[in-house]
């Protein structure tokens, strides 16, 4: 096997372990948490004992924990995440229906944030002192503004007052704009800070002096040399943020009444819908590991010094 293939095989084996671990922890946490899923499913205040026993048997919750755990693992191996207690639909179906919405929003937010941050960083890194100061102030404000607050203001102004964008729902591109902007605003602050700092660091290196001494323009220096150096920390951050956006966009989803994994997860937790919770956790863990793998590969594209397939 070539070193690259061996590296990939090892990473994939680790990914399987991570998913397995996440499923196990979720299973344990849910069964340790107080509250009875059976009563949550029935919903009425004082169900009869017979009904409770019957539903418990229906959901296989009367079996020993070990059996339930083995059942879950067996299902995972077959790609079957079970059936939702509340929705009475296969969990896979529920998640697949949400995933498209979630991915669309996460990728849109991330790309928007990256484009704006790169432009800001290239324009202000190590030059234009006034603009740089204004930009730093804005970054500080946006990075520390809570998402729900930003979202509410955008809704109030752009939707209710000016009627530019729909306030709720997920229809088409217009429906995507406000949620994506809401999420991107906080990210722009963080990304620009990281990008500018690493760009300024790169512009201070001797190779930047060499490049200037060859008659390279400031903008070319930033795009040809510094941007690549700045990309490495941003890649790390992007991977992490994309993972978080995919599994935790609940605030924005709720605010703009969009379907998505985050909302489904919160609803499932509140309703003690164990298969859905475990399903979302497993999918999120799998997405996280895949993103990490992609980020690892991208490091090697950006930085030739990392093109060794060790560890």
């Amino acid at each position: 096997m070539s070193p690259a293939l061996r590296w990939l095989a090892r990473k994939l084996a680790l990914a399987v372990l991570v998913v397995l671990g996440a499923a196990t922890v979720a299973f344990a946490a849910l069964h340790l948490a107080p509250g009875d899923p059976v009563r949550a499913v029935i919903g009425t205040l004082a169900p009869s004992d017979d009904l409770v026993a019957q539903v418990r048997a229906d959901l296989d919750l009367d079996k020993p924990l070990a059996t339930q755990y083995a059942h879950m693992l067996g299902g995972l191996a077959r790609g079957d995440l079970g059936e939702s207690y509340q929705l009475r639909r296969p969990v896979v179906e529920v998640i697949v229906a949400d995933l498209g919405w979630t991915v669309q929003l996460a990728v849109a937010s991330l790309l928007l944030a990256l484009v704006v941050s790169t432009a800001l960083a290239v324009a202000t890194a190590g030059r234009r002192p006034t603009l740089r100061r204004v930009s730093i102030l804005l970054e500080l404000v946006t990075a520390s503004s809570p998402t729900f607050w930003v979202g509410t203001i955008l809704l109030a102004v752009l939707s209710f007052q000016l009627h530019l964008f729909p306030a709720a729902g997920a229809g088409g591109l217009e429906g995507l704009v406000l949620p994506a902007v809401t999420q991107a605003i906080g990210l722009v602050g963080i990304f620009t800070q990281v990008l500018r700092q690493s760009m300024e660091q790169a512009l201070d290196e001797p190779f930047a002096l060499s490049a200037r001494a060859r008659g390279t323009t400031e903008t070319a220096l930033r795009l040809r040399h510094a941007a690549r150096h700045a990309l490495i920390p941003v890649l790390t951050l992007s991977g992490w943020i994309l993972g978080a956006l995919l599994s935790g966009a609940v605030v924005v989803e709720t605010l703009f009444s969009r379907p998505g994994l985050g909302r489904t997860l919160v609803t499932a937790i509140l309703g003690r819908d164990l298969p859905v919770v475990i399903g979302v956790v497993v999918v999120a863990a799998a997405l996280f590991t895949v993103i990490n793998l992609v980020v690892d590969l991208l490091y090697r594209v950006v930085d030739p010094r990392l093109r060794e397939w060790a560890a």
Partner: protein
């Protein structure tokens, strides 16, 4: 004169530090003709690099430039805007910096870096870039230019990298080449080759401005020398005259501080401080026995690298043992083995008559072997003051003051932070810290490599004093043969992990038996060579 490519008069550069204006360069005049080399020699902070950067308009933010004349290729530069400066940079003046590992962009291929200047100035069409790069790399004698152009800087050896950097500076055929410490990061043999290369450019008609702290390097290339101190030229003249009959006391001091064959054993930096006394009687005889020690590392991709293989030697009490070799020869690994920081794969190390390798940490008497590193700042806890750094060895305040005095520092420095000290002062603190445990052996790994020549001279004197007064044995690891030759009693010459030659210093230097040693000695520049190179004293 009309063949003058560079003409500078009354050049002043100031930097704004807080509210104050600090002079970096004050009133410097020089000129440079085609095919001529002028060297500016000075120590760190003398302003020599600022002069180099003024020629490409890159003195940095906060710098203010004033000059009566700043002319390159017939064009007055002092009033240029950024856009016009860019037409000068690379096209009229090429700049070569010290260390190609950092002066070439590590994320871009060597070919892309070499081609950049030509592309910036529109001198090459897209389809012809590869051919141009090929020719440029061939010009600087880089073998396999097609392969090298596709590689990244860190995949090239130090010598090849530095040549690629010269190729990048020459890409747009500038009539002036400014080389700022171009050989400082290189070993002697590579240094000699690189100087040959610059000499070839000079012969081809390029005017070379060489910036260096090292008079012996300058002697090999420069037609004229300007000695710079505190932003001024204190002495200028043709190289042979300046080196043979220096007029200014500072030039004489610089020359005297350069360790060389005739000065062996002599003091380099003037009279000494009060002698220190030994606190414990010293044992005599052999302190360390190293028997056939090998250490192999696993590189990336599973490649095995024998850093040290089958090395044997002994170290006697009160002896200074020099270890010389180029970077990568295994010198530092040997130091780590001797310090017990690494375990040998095979072979044994005995210290003070007891096993040292392969014993539990608790049985090692670490206080008896101390370590001084190249960059002491990295080995100091940045929050500690000097006094606490030394007191860590378990000594009281009175002893700290005594130790500071012993290494030639004001005892009041105990209250300073190490980062506020100069490089030489830091190295003295590191030595005081090593001495605090009253060791029998101090392993010094490149202790003077980062220092200016006059400071290096003081530290070398200090080593000689420590040995004379305290009877401490020193292992002095250096890539610089002149340093080892100056103070060491015996020398080990290392290459690719093995000791190729060993013996008393005077004997090895006078009659090297291994061809590699002979090659190292031959590559060693000496200030006296200027006389040989310019017997008639060409102006």
């Amino acid at each position: 004169m009309d063949d003058e490519v560079v003409s500078v008069a009354g050049l002043h550069v100031t930097y704004r530090v807080g509210r104050a204006e600090v002079f970096a360069v004050r009133g410097v005049d020089f000129h440079l003709r085609a095919g001529e080399c002028l060297a500016i020699v000075g120590e760190s902070g003398s302003g020599k690099s600022t002069v180099a950067r003024a020629l490409v308009g890159l003195t940095g933010p906060g710098a203010r430039l004033r000059s009566d004349r700043l002319v390159v290729s017939g064009q007055e530069l002092s009033r240029l805007g950024d856009r016009e400066w860019r037409r000068i940079r690379g096209a009229q003046v090429g700049l070569v910096l010290q260390d190609a590992l950092t002066a070439l962009d590590p994320l871009r291929t060597v070919g892309a870096e070499v081609a950049e200047a030509a592309r910036n100035h529109g001198l090459v069409r897209r389809g012809e870039v590869a051919r141009r790069v090929h020719r440029l790399l061939t010009d600087v004698q880089v073998p396999q230019p097609e392969l090298r152009a596709r590689q990244y800087p860190q995949q090239l050896s130090g010598g090849l990298r530095q040549r690629a950097l010269i190729a990048a500076a020459m890409a747009a055929d500038p009539p002036v080449l400014v080389a700022d410490e171009p050989t400082t990061a290189l070993d002697v043999t590579l240094q000699a080759k690189l100087l040959d290369l610059l000499a070839a450019r000079k012969a081809a008609g390029t005017a070379v401005l060489l910036i260096s702290h090292d008079l012996s390097v300058v002697a090999l290339l420069a037609d004229r020398v300007a000695v710079m101190r505190d932003g001024e030229f204190v002495e200028t003249g043709c190289t042979a005259d300046v080196l043979r009959a220096p007029e200014h006391p500072y030039t004489r001091q610089l020359l005297a501080a350069t360790p060389s064959a005739h000065a062996r054993g002599a003091r380099l930096a003037g009279p000494r401080s009060t002698p220190a006394r030994t606190r414990t009687p010293r044992p005599s005889g052999v302190l360390a026995r190293v028997r056939e020690v090998s250490k192999t590392f696993r590189g990336p991709g599973g490649a095995r690298l024998a850093a040290v293989s089958e090395v044997s030697f002994s170290l006697s009490a009160g002896e200074i043992l020099g270890v010389v070799g180029e970077s990568g020869s295994g010198k530092s690994t040997l130091a780590h083995l001797l310090l017990g920081l690494l375990e040998p794969d095979t072979g044994t190390i005995e210290l003070f008559g007891q096993p040292w390798s392969g014993v539990p940490e608790a049985r090692r008497q670490r206080g008896r072997v101390q370590w001084v590193q190249q960059d002491p700042l990295g080995s100091f806890d940045p929050r500690y003051r000097v006094g606490r750094l030394i007191a860590e060895a378990g000594v009281d305040r009175a002893r700290v003051r005594e130790l500071l005095d012993q290494v030639g520092l004001d005892p009041a420095m105990a209250d300073r932070h190490p980062r506020t000290l100069s490089g030489g002062q830091r190295q003295r603190v590191a030595i005081a810290r090593a001495l605090a445990r009253d060791p029998e052996v101090i392993v010094c790994d490149e202790p003077v490599s980062a220092l200016d020549v006059s400071v290096q001279a003081q530290i070398l004197d200090l080593f000689a004093d420590i040995r004379a007064d305290l009877g401490t044995a020193l292992v002095l690891i250096s890539h610089d043969l002149a340093v080892v030759h100056h103070v060491a009693d015996r020398v080990l010459v290392m290459r690719a992990g093995t000791v190729v030659e060993s013996g008393p210093v005077t004997e090895v230097f006078a009659r090297p038996t291994h061809p590699y040693t002979a090659q190292l000695i031959a590559a060693l520049p000496r200030p006296g060579d200027a006389y040989a190179a310019h017997p008639e004293g060409v102006a």
